[in-house]
Point group: C2
Chain length 288, copies 2
């Protein structure tokens, strides 16, 4: 049924429902989370996607498209490439599809799939793009191995992940660091890794990719830089706030300590504050 | 005696010996430290000095030149500007002078001085350059106030500092973080601040500078990037190793834990390891 890929796959975007339960997505599935992810993608779009352009006619797998926050940037930046965007969540896929078709892009097809067990033949894609996905996967090497298999020889992979250990801010308080550490702990308990950015080089190497290049993409936010502090609030702090109940119910923080930490994080976006964060963008190539 | 500055000041570089004792320079004054500082400056020269060029005929104060590691880059990058490089240590100044004259530069004069109490009239300089100096000063606002006074109206200040909290590395172990934290603690005990990079924006603002711009300069080192891991060893790890005795004598680490932490740091420079660090470069302007 994949022989006529990629042209007809859009006719049956939800034809195959994977039986596995979704990996635990620590940030939740709320509407606010969906808005946050789009803010993240548009505000950081240039920073993260700079350098990622695909040739006309090439086929690209976006593995873990979520609500389509990166998809819309991929589709717009490489309008003559053909994208297949997969995600394990039907709800997210539906939102992604709405958004991409709403923007008028016709070069993306969607398909539900688990990136650790992809329903594509070997050597299907010219390129693979993965963003903010490996951080949620219990064994990223299994995912990378699966992705490498569906990549044609000589094809490239691009992986973008954050690393919450890269957050530097002023004023810095123990309470602010504590709420960030709560998210790191919760994500680890769910099988993910919020500090995965620093591991991309060895993960790609361990997976057998060659020509590995790491490009750190650092953001610096303060009131001197228009909209930057707003982005910290809408993207980073909102993400931390999203796990409040989990952190408190899990015994990682009491409500007062939590609220103090969040308040302290907001303080970094005010007068004389600063907030710095690094994303890691990794590229590699499959051997020919 | 400053009326004929800057042309004749080189005739009497040690004419005025400040009475204050030097600030505690936590990294020591050994020959190895001198070599380390030069390695640091040459390896990071492009990263840190990119964008710093002074117009022909302008006068620039380098405040805290140490052994001349940055001086030689300043003098070479702006060969027609006139530099006055001051440091509180006569030994460091002598080394800096040897190095700069040995390289054939004639656009630098040296003078011993405490940057918190400078022997120059107000509004003497067109620009001020400070690198890896404020981190050692108990009250950087006093230093910045002094520097602002000797700057002409509309003149610029450039400040470059590291921030050890920006160190991200893989593999990351508690022992490795512990030895870094030992240096941070020792530097704080000596009145300095090894986490000052994140504070440059508010420090310049609090000092009354305007048009403040912060440019984070991030390094990423791994075996895939030629010479980068060597630089981590020679610059960062050597700096940590330099406080071994102080850390052990000060009760911050026992010898085994220390040596394990250093070994773990070296591990980040080996196969599949990575080490990331951010310097913060700040510029500001004095109001006219």
């Amino acid at each position: 049924m994949y022989n006529d890929y990629p042209h007809h796959i859009s006719d049956q975007p939800e034809a195959k429902i994977m039986s596995e339960s979704p990996h635990s997505y620590i940030h939740g599935w709320s509407d606010r989370e969906s808005i946050r992810l789009h803010d993240q993608a548009s505000g950081l779009g240039f920073l993260l996607h700079e350098g990622t352009r695909y040739l006309p006619g090439s086929t690209v797998l976006e593995a873990g498209c979520g609500v389509g926050a990166q998809t819309i940037l991929l589709a717009g930046n490489s309008p003559h490439a053909q994208f297949v965007s997969v995600d394990i969540s039907p709800d997210s896929l539906a939102k992604a599809q709405d958004r991409v078709s709403g923007a008028g892009y016709t070069n993306v097809t969607f398909r539900q799939a688990d990136i650790c067990s992809l329903p594509f033949p070997a050597e299907t894609f010219d390129h693979v793009f993965v963003c903010f996905t490996l951080e949620h996967i219990p064994d990223p090497l299994v995912a990378l191995d699966t992705l490498r298999k569906v990549l044609r020889p000589g094809g490239t992979i691009t992986v973008i992940e954050g690393d919450h250990g890269s957050a530097i801010f002023y004023p810095g308080t123990p309470a602010a660091h504590h709420v960030i550490n709560c998210l790191v702990t919760l994500q680890r308990q769910a099988g993910g890794n919020a500090l995965i950015g620093r591991e991309l080089e060895h993960l790609l190497a361990d997976s057998g990719f060659i020509d590995i290049h790491i490009s750190p993409r650092q953001t610096y936010a303060s009131q001197n830089i228009p909209r930057s502090s707003e982005a910290v609030k809408k993207i980073f702090i909102a993400m931390i706030e999203g796990v409040r109940e989990q952190a408190i119910e899990g015994g990682l923080a009491d409500p007062d300590a939590w609220d103090r930490g969040i308040r302290d994080l907001y303080r970094t976006t005010e007068q004389n504050g600063m907030f710095c964060y690094t994303f890691f963008k990794a590229t590699g190539r499959k051997t020919v």
